[in-house]
């Protein structure tokens, strides 16, 4: 129990380290990163779009000074695009060269058996690392210093691809049939993100720590906006956050996420807004809401929402 203190300290370290890069973490996120490092397990980050799932990986990479290798998933992604591919053209050229040179290699042997013997001794480099074109996953394993591997939007890929990931996620190695196993030099810190457009397989979930990032509460969101848009005045900040938080409780097709709040704050600063009023909101609402029907729904409520957010900023 004596070293528990140290460990809790290091959860705090993670929080501080991430904060230095401008990423405001919470206990859940920091604990996840901490446990992931201790158990060498990947983290599966789920949550609505724009709450900072991808950002987490980027910030980790900045903080730990490790390269970030990102693999964007999409329907139809297969191993030749994710793991490795043979440099087919180069292999072809190699065989052409071999055809030219083969005469000189076997010229001094007179019998057929002798020539075959020579050929066997001749190095077989056709399927070798030289002709291997590493794709993100293989690149991640080959980083000498380790890296942050971000497998983005895993839910967009096919189920087969998920199964294919299992080996790399649990053992940090891949099998190339012609060469054999390739293991990681330093196991990378793996983050997978998902918007839950489909349910992921149990096998994949079992191998990962499951971190769910939801929308932040008012206090946390203020901190986040403040770190991303430092030159915003306190009163406006409070108003913006309170307004967005209320907006999220409306019945919308797509609720505004943190990244949209940040954009909005930036826009309002460009407009030299010092206080949020109904007109400003009306003009800039399309930054927050991406559907025409949502804007319509929100427009009816703008007046009350703005007033409430003004009140909220005055109280505190």
């Amino acid at each position: 129990m004596s070293n528990t203190q140290n460990h809790i300290q290091s959860i705090q370290d993670i929080e501080n380290g991430l904060a230095n890069t401008g990423y405001i973490s919470n206990t859940q996120i920091s604990t996840a990163v901490f446990i992931a490092q201790q158990l060498q397990k990947p983290i599966l980050v789920e949550g609505p779009a724009g709450v900072g799932k991808t950002e987490l990986a980027k910030s980790l990479s900045t903080w730990l000074h490790k390269p970030l290798i990102r693999m964007q998933c999409y329907e139809g992604l297969d191993e030749s695009k994710a793991l490795y591919e043979w440099k087919y053209g180069k292999q072809l050229l190699y065989t052409q060269i071999l055809k030219d040179k083969i005469g000189s290699v076997i010229s001094d042997s007179d019998s057929l058996n002798g020539a075959l013997e020579k050929l066997h001794n001749f190095g077989d480099i056709f399927f070798s690392r030289n002709f291997l074109e590493p794709r993100p996953l293989l690149q991640a394993l080959e980083q000498p210093e380790g890296c942050i591997l971000l497998i983005d939007e895993i839910d967009k890929s096919d189920q087969e691809f998920e199964a294919f990931l299992l080996e790399i996620l649990s053992d940090y190695q891949v099998s190339v049939p012609e060469i054999g196993k390739i293991s990681a030099i330093v196991p990378p810190l793996v983050l997978l993100t998902s918007n839950s457009t489909r349910d992921l397989g149990d096998a994949l979930k079992r191998r990962c720590l499951h971190l769910h990032i939801g929308f932040p509460d008012e206090r946390l969101e203020e901190k986040i906006i403040n770190s991303r848009v430092p030159d915003i005045n306190k009163k406006l900040l409070k108003q913006i956050v309170s307004f967005v938080q209320q907006l999220r409780s409306l019945d919308l097709k797509k609720v505004p996420s943190v990244s949209e709040t940040i954009d909005w704050a930036k826009v309002l600063i460009l407009f030299h807004t010092s206080i949020l009023d109904t007109d400003t909101v009306n003009e800039t609402l399309n930054v927050l809401l991406k559907f025409e029907s949502d804007i319509e729904t929100a427009r009816k409520q703008i007046h009350t929402l703005t007033q409430q957010s003004q009140r909220a900023s005055e109280i505190s």
């Binding site: 460990h7 087919y88 053209g89 489909r198 499951h210 971190l211």
Partner: protein
């Protein structure tokens, strides 16, 4: 299974503490699926973060054990429930000591209590903390955590009471009753009353533990029952759970279907296209082309009867239609009783309850007329049928003796890929009364009885297998 797991955890050098082991069991009981590997991870990480900071322990375990937002909230609930009862146990032990010290100092013992054991004393002084502690101890001794079914409730209650020394106490009371004196009589009255209360609180305790430990079995049992019972016999509460099951099922089917769709034939060289592509390089095949088999996306049109004769079913059929609408991309849905309307938009834009309500409000519960409904379809939507479309009709084929318009159905069948009829009635009642089932049947590729969730699952999975 459990023994094996204990061994595994032990061999890994991380002996899981008893609270963790028990908690894992409780979590499993509550429906979280936790594999042996996950419990090892849990033990390892708990040994890293420790138990000191409850918030961090909770987060850690939640990271490892709960794998979806629903499971997360479930997990939080169980964690609080379980560790609250644990803490309670600890605190009561302490209280109990203080309490005893106090009472022994300033309480005037009667004859009766001097000779009695701890239980009698606690009962006599109405010492709730001690009693709770005794219950917990006894429950621990008889391994209450093995309770699984609600039928075992009485058995375990009796065992706990016996373990607490109830039988001895009762014998003592009856002995006292025989040699009664007026002074003690009131004591005994009080005592019997408190014994009664104790019985109730033990039963409550057992019930709570059953909720914790026995949920898995009862839950499974319920789901099995639901899947195979007739939908028209279900009550409102079951319907809520049914909705979850329907959703699950639709998701599963869609997943399976997506897999079939993506099965491509790879590995055979398309010589013709490869040669054409590589003419520029003098025929040396730098770029290869592979033969691929593409499987079309499913096109489904569902026609659903919502008339009075299938009233009990229609809510459920619409529920399934809704779920199907969520998982399949190319689906158009229609509902009819006397006339037919397209309901795709309603299903698309509303929540499931509202959508069903709305559809039933517009068109539901009227007397059905298959003929005129099919005519509506013929006029408005038949042109959207293609040889790739699967048409599903959900209904009992009872048209109140109106013209069934069989020729339209025949037309639908020839213009689509396949026509499937799912009928909620048993085969024995087809063709009786106003049922036109046998007149429609020749044009359907398949006519299936469908009145339980399991029927529906089988039918749909077959449809998908065929259309792939």
């Amino acid at each position: 299974m459990q023994h094996q797991e204990k061994k595994v955890i032990f061999e890994n050098g991380h002996l899981a503490s008893k609270p963790l082991r028990q908690f894992l069991q409780v979590a499993r009981g509550a429906g979280l699926r936790i594999s042996a590997a996950e419990s090892i991870d849990a033990a390892r990480s708990v040994s890293i973060v420790g138990w000191n900071n409850k918030a961090i322990t909770k987060t850690t375990l939640s990271l490892l054990l709960a794998k979806s937002p629903e499971e997360k909230s479930q997990f939080d609930h169980i964690f609080e429930l379980y560790f609250k009862s644990q803490e309670f146990l600890k605190s009561t032990t302490n209280e109990h000591k203080e309490e005893l010290d106090k009472t022994s100092n300033n309480f005037n013992h009667s004859d009766f209590s001097q000779h009695s054991n701890e239980l009698t004393e606690a009962l006599l002084h109405d010492d709730q903390a001690t009693l709770a502690n005794l219950i917990a101890q006894a429950a621990n001794d008889i391994e209450l955590e093995n309770i699984r079914l609600f039928t075992q409730k009485n058995l375990y209650t009796r065992r706990i009471l016996e373990r607490m020394g109830m039988r001895a106490l009762e014998m003592k009371i009856s002995a006292q009753l025989e040699a009664q004196s007026i002074n003690e009589l009131s004591d005994i009255d009080v005592l019997s009353e408190r014994i009664h209360t104790l019985r109730n609180s033990v039963r409550d305790y057992v019930e709570r533990q059953l909720l914790l430990f026995g949920r898995a079995q009862s839950e499974q049992f319920r789901e099995e029952l639901l899947k195979s019972s007739r939908i028209s016999n279900l009550n409102a509460q079951d319907l809520i759970r049914m909705r979850q099951l329907v959703r699950q099922m639709a998701k599963k089917l869609a997943g399976r279907y997506a897999k079939m769709r993506k099965k491509r034939l790879r590995g055979q060289l398309d010589v013709r296209r490869t040669m054409r592509r590589n003419m520029a390089w003098g025929g040396i095949p730098f770029v290869t082309h592979w033969k691929q088999k593409r499987i079309e996306k499913p096109k489904v049109m569902v026609i659903c009867d919502v008339s009075g004769s299938v009233a009990a079913m229609s809510g459920f059929l619409l529920m399934f239609l809704y779920a199907l609408n969520e998982v399949l991309s190319d689906i158009r849905s229609f509902a009819f009783s006397g006339t037919m309307i397209e309901v795709s938009d309603i299903l698309e834009s509303e929540s499931v309850e509202k959508a069903i309500e709305k559809i039933l409000e517009i068109i539901g519960f009227q007397s059905s007329n298959y003929g005129s409904s099919f005519t509506d379809f013929d006029e408005n939507w038949i042109r959207f049928l293609s040889p790739k479309t699967t048409v599903i009709v959900l209904g009992d084929a009872r048209g109140n003796n109106t013209d069934p318009k069989v020729e339209i159905l025949k037309n639908i069948a020839t213009r689509s890929k396949q026509l499937i009829w799912l009928n909620p009635e048993y085969e024995s009642s087809w063709g009786t009364g106003d049922s036109d089932m046998y007149r429609y049947a020749p044009y359907c590729k398949q006519v299936t009885v469908c009145n339980t969730l399991r029927h529906l699952e089988n039918a749909i999975s077959e449809i998908m297998a065929h259309s792939a």
